[in-house]
Symmetry: C2
């Protein structure tokens, strides 16, 4: 089984091409522009690793990986419209640059292109991969809807936030791995285990993301530390603080959220520390990570086949920026 | 082969159900609401007729018909956002009632649901039907993009408008028929012929639509006659008038388009009549209709099998409202 770096390069060789027809350029150039912004292409590599966990790499993994990456970019284009985000990875978002109408349509056609990639795989895997892909696509949309719903709510429980994160983030990671496993000829039990590995890894990753937004090293984080606090985003940290702090701390927390005082971030971070939210979050991350690794452990293949996946997982959740 | 009425009822029995999960209701209720607004479900019936042209009806036609209908509704939801349309069939559009963000997401998940229906058909037809569906879906998006592009342009040629109409309207009708033919076990030549029948029928239908918007009976038309004229929409009629009228007529035409005089519709209609645009449009419609029927004639099956399709086609392009 190959390392992340090698698989990334293999995927890039397949994926970094012109994906759409030339005309109408007003529709397709925005998509090429957005795909060129790049990204780490983690999901396709997970798909390829899922394949290699069970058998040697098949070209079907590249097609499914491409489908997943196109799907991911479709969700980003539409999410950016909904979130009114002007920038993505430092570049203008599609709707900022080309207008909302074109961004809606460009996203739509990106989703269709994902299904075109899926339709390239061997017929024997087409049905199960389509089934998994469709279910996951719906779940990701559901996650985005919950995310929007929660924005306008006063209170969100830890269980609700977890469900939203699972739908919006984790299932796509889990499905990438499972799709690869299907192509690798894995049986159902092993498929289930790699799916669960991916699902828990995705949650651990999100806990870390929430943690770094508050406690990350500003020099390494790359974006504004405390962004979630400033926008009152209901993260793992905020929800846990609200659920566990004392009544007087809750008063201060609510006052901080209602106002926009200059030292809002610092005071909220102090409050988080006073409630032990920082340590709790690191524990929570490790708990999900341990559960994830246990699922991987249980997959019935030689353990050396699991090494690249373990490495990638550790890398993903150990970054401090 | 069964009549439109019978096939409509069969399709309704399959389609008029709850298509989405209950939760999140904020995402799925808008879709159920929109599907309940109804519509003539012409495309699914065309799919079923395409099937019955070659063999007895298979349940796969219902699945593909449902996929096409869900796809059609997805395009309507997103087009309504882009067109800022407040109403559709006298009811509030999804974005008017539930907000633009939800309408984007509801459309997205409607498209995924279309692929879920497709994934229910027999494996032997899955690849060719997916190929046809994906290509058509992209073309419909392209048509919508051209339509938006043309709005901001001063001049559009007849050939450009025709191409836009083909992409936005005709190919979906053509593909509905061809998908049915695939399921009916038709060979490639016959598939091509029913596709061309549908493509030309779709163009004839659009010529008629443009004609009725200008020359329809106001009592029967159901919507404002002259709507296209008031909004300066570049239709078959306007483009032909611009291409064939005298320089002085062109001056008047441009003046009418730039202003919004009270008698704009009446004066433009007079100008259309002076240029013979009304008769030309009826001829153009009949020309496409004749070509469509010739393709149907050439399909190598017993001619009595073609009767319901002929009837439906004649009905679609003979309405005066």
């Amino acid at each position: 089984m190959q390392s992340f770096q090698l698989l990334s390069e293999k995927f890039a060789l397949y994926f970094e091409k012109w994906h759409f027809p030339e005309e109408p350029a007003t529709l397709y150039q925005p998509n090429e522009y957005f795909l060129n912004i790049g990204g780490k292409r983690i999901r396709p590599v997970l798909c390829m690793m899922g394949n290699e966990l069970f058998d040697e790499m098949r070209s079907d993994s590249l097609h499914v990986g491409a489908a997943i990456e196109l799907f991911h970019n479709f969700t980003l284009i539409h999410d950016d419209i909904m979130d009114k985000a002007p920038l993505r990875r430092g570049m203008e978002t599609v709707h900022s640059r080309f207008g909302t109408n074109t961004a809606i349509l460009a996203g739509d056609v990106m989703l269709v292109a994902a299904y075109e990639e899926l339709n390239k795989i061997s017929l024997e895997y087409l049905r199960p991969v389509l089934t998994l892909f469709n279910r996951t696509a719906k779940e990701v949309c559901e996650g985005q809807q919950y995310d929007m719903d929660y924005e306008s709510r006063k209170q969100v429980s830890q269980a609700e936030y977890l469900k939203m994160i699972e739908l919006k983030t984790s299932v796509a990671i889990a499905a990438s791995l499972q799709a690869g496993a299907i192509i690798g000829g894995s049986g159902e039990r092993n498929q289930h285990l790699v799916y669960e590995f991916g699902r828990k890894l995705g949650i651990a990753f999100q806990v870390q993301d929430d943690y770094l937004d508050a406690f990350g090293d500003p020099d390494k984080f790359g974006k504004q530390v405390g962004g979630d606090i400033l926008s009152n985003k209901k993260t793992f940290l905020l929800i846990h603080a609200m659920e566990t702090c004392t009544p007087s701390q809750l008063n201060e927390l609510n006052a901080l959220m209602e106002g926009n005082s200059e030292n809002k971030v610092d005071r909220m971070l102090q409050l988080y520390r006073d409630c032990g939210v920082d340590e709790w979050a690191l524990e929570l991350k490790n708990q999900y990570l341990n559960e994830a690794f246990q699922h991987l452990e249980d997959v019935a293949v030689l353990s050396r086949r699991k090494e690249p996946l373990k490495e990638l997982a550790s890398f993903l959740v150990s970054r401090d920026h």
